[in-house]
């Protein structure tokens, strides 16, 4: 056992940090917040710079243009980017790219991976439907094959970023006559495809998600991923990768640090209160415990394993902790805690505590509800019977 990060990892973290220091300008952050990472001159410049560093593909296999680096590098990269709130491609990069590498055809890899690397291709996830949420396998959006094309009809919901993404990673039913898990296929659908309608649903965290309607949307057979009826394992693989991203400690640690920094600067007398310090120590221990699970998870991936129970543990811990930090943080900040970032200087921690409280529920049910996560821990981790 060795809990020390080797020099190469520490050096890499230093490299990422200096890069962030150089690029973390108010203009970039403003554009990111305003467009929810969609697009803009600052974001494009930043993504070009990221692309030049090769960090987006460093853990990809060499034959895919990567360096085949240990997954710990990606863990460190994501942790730092999350801590500093930088736009780095997130889901497309952590979840979709590995799925295309693993399940995509040669042509799909050639067509999509370079664009993902350059930050030009971004994906929205077309999984959930109004009547297929946690029970995702009962989805009903239908794809019928006509010649060399698939014609898609149906409705998806919670297709976040569909309005700004270039593509949708779509799960549709290609065969209604087989058991439900076996009749699903994954398609790559251009977000501007004729027949695709995107309607925003405004959410309480200030952003929006979307409903998407498919009305005779045509997709060439070449954009079906991994074979007809082979969609379910692909979705599970992508979801597992998504959970690794959802479990990142970076943004949670920053939320905590901002809370403490704010109290130290503006409310020093409150920070002297032993009860306040005790509550902060509780949160700090929660963070250490959550990060332990995240590192454990990254360790298994770095060895070439697939953490299933471990990924779920880290996801549950991170997402429940986000709620706890935001809630306790606001309590410790008093009425100021409820001020949003529009209030400028008056809002503590750039209004992030207040905003985190509004967005926190998403993470607990998104990417697989925490209840399903616990089912997975019990089944895959502890071997409890179905």
């Amino acid at each position: 056992m060795d809990f020390e990060w080797e020099k190469e990892y520490r050096d890499f973290r230093g490299e990422v940090r200096s890069f962030i220091e150089e690029w973390r300008t108010p203009e970039l952050l403003e554009e990111y917040a305003r467009t929810y990472g969609a697009d803009g001159p600052e974001l494009r410049r930043f993504r070009d710079a990221l692309g030049e560093r090769g960090w987006m593909r460093m853990c990809w296999p060499e034959e895919e243009g990567g360096e085949g680096r240990n997954l710990f590098y990606q863990f460190i990269f994501v942790e730092e980017m999350e801590y500093w709130g930088m736009p780095y491609g997130n889901l497309t990069y952590t979840s979709i790219a590995p799925s295309i590498q693993r399940f995509g055809s040669d042509e799909q890899r050639r067509r999509y991976l370079p664009g993902i690397l350059r930050g030009e291709s971004t994906f929205a996830l077309g999984y959930s439907e109004p009547n297929a949420g946690t029970d995702l396998a009962s989805l009903r959006t239908r794809a019928r094959r006509i010649g060399d094309e698939w014609v898609i009809n149906g409705q998806k919901i919670w297709t976040s970023l569909a309005d700004v993404a270039t593509h949708i990673w779509l799960a549709a039913r290609t065969d209604p006559d087989v058991p439900k898990h076996q009749g699903i296929s994954v398609f790559i659908v251009p977000a501007d495809a004729p027949g695709l309608t995107i309607r925003p649903l405004h959410a309480m965290y200030g952003g929006h998600t979307n409903e998407t309607f498919y009305d005779d949307v045509r997709v060439p057979h070449a954009d079906l991923v991994g074979g007809v009826g082979r969609g379910w394992p692909i979705i599970m693989h992508a979801l597992n990768h998504e959970r690794v991203g959802l479990a990142a400690t970076g943004s949670l640690a920053r939320l905590f640090d901002q809370l403490v920094a704010h109290l130290a600067e503006r409310r020093p007398e409150r920070l002297e209160d032993p009860l306040v310090r005790r509550r902060l120590a509780d949160l700090q221990l929660d963070l250490l415990e959550q990060r332990a699970l995240a590192v454990q998870n990254a360790w298994i991936i770095s060895k070439g394993g697939t953490p299933i129970a471990e990924a779920s543990m880290a996801k549950v811990a991170a997402t429940e902790l986000r709620t706890r930090i935001a809630n306790t943080g606001m309590d410790l900040l008093g009425r100021y805690g409820g001020l949003s970032r529009e209030n400028g200087e008056l809002a503590p921690a750039e209004g992030r505590m207040e905003w985190s409280f509004r967005i926190a529920p998403i993470f607990r049910f998104g990417g697989g509800t925490n209840e399903i996560m616990r089912d997975i821990i019990a089944a895959a981790g502890l071997g409890l019977p179905r």
Partner: protein, 362 residues
Amino acid sequence: MNLDLDPTQTLLRETTREYLASTVPFDRVRACEREERWDSELWRGLIEQGWLGLPFPESIGGGGGRLTDAGLLLEEFARRAAVVPLAEALVCGLACTRSGSPSQASAALEGLLSGDVVPVPAVLEESDTWGVVEARVEGEQLIGEKLFVDYGQFASHHLVAARENDELGLYRVDARDDAVGSAPLRTIGRTPSARVVYRDAAVEPVGGPEALRDLILTARAFAAVQCLGSAQEALDQTVAYAKVREQFGRPIGTFQAVQHHAANMASRVASTRYLVYEALHALDHGAATPQQVAFAKASASRMVPEVTMLAHQIHGGNGMIEENDLYFFTLRGKDRSLAWGSAEECLEEASAAVDAPREWIC
């Protein structure tokens, strides 16, 4: 970064587990509890196995292992609810061998490994506060009273925290001396503990305030790993039970509510496991801060009752009776969660540095 046990550690864990499973039936543990004694027979076996020398340098006759290895050993002993002062003797041995000359260190270790010396620490007093030490040494004689001296009534020597001219230090006392009187305390852990009175007992100085601080830090990390052992065993027994116990015509482990309790138990154990071994590893490399050890112990201390109470929820009435083995871990776990710093104490201690600059990630 390597979170797997290395092959010698795996071997150590397996040998210890097999040895304990074959030589210490749980009924023997029950007998020790009933008769309010320690398992001196297991102590002899432990010495024969050479485990006691594990975390000491080879240069003075030890096994050349680390605290991390001692942690693995302690975890296995906790999983068997063994009634021996392994953690206590190890922290005393470490304190004695770390101070003094190499020849003094060898002599101290020799006594320990021969079985002639069974030392335990005596630190806390009536105030139950680490900094408050009223026991005093005058003219090489100790006067004072100590509480919560675990295994104190069976030990050959006590390593006592006392003041001499206001300076804190550690002193070795022969516990069989008439000047030492002990009375048993009955604790929730059902392992021996004592109140001890020293009336002009002869002492040998062992070390100063740093030696005392080191001893507390190591003992705290060891108690954390004992909490972990109790929790791990409670979890494993509970999962096994949920697979075979049937209600409504099916194993209760198929019910989602039961599965979620078990999943929560497993996650809590996994977090603590990482933090506890990380702290031991840091202690091995001289890199541990008191805050890190306090957080690791706080994690273990607050985790173990959560886990054992869920274990009871899943076991129902069967877990309450003493013919079932679960109660060992509930009681021992809670006892160790209080020992060497409860969750409250450790979190309060850690909170002193809550606004210090920190590196989450390094």
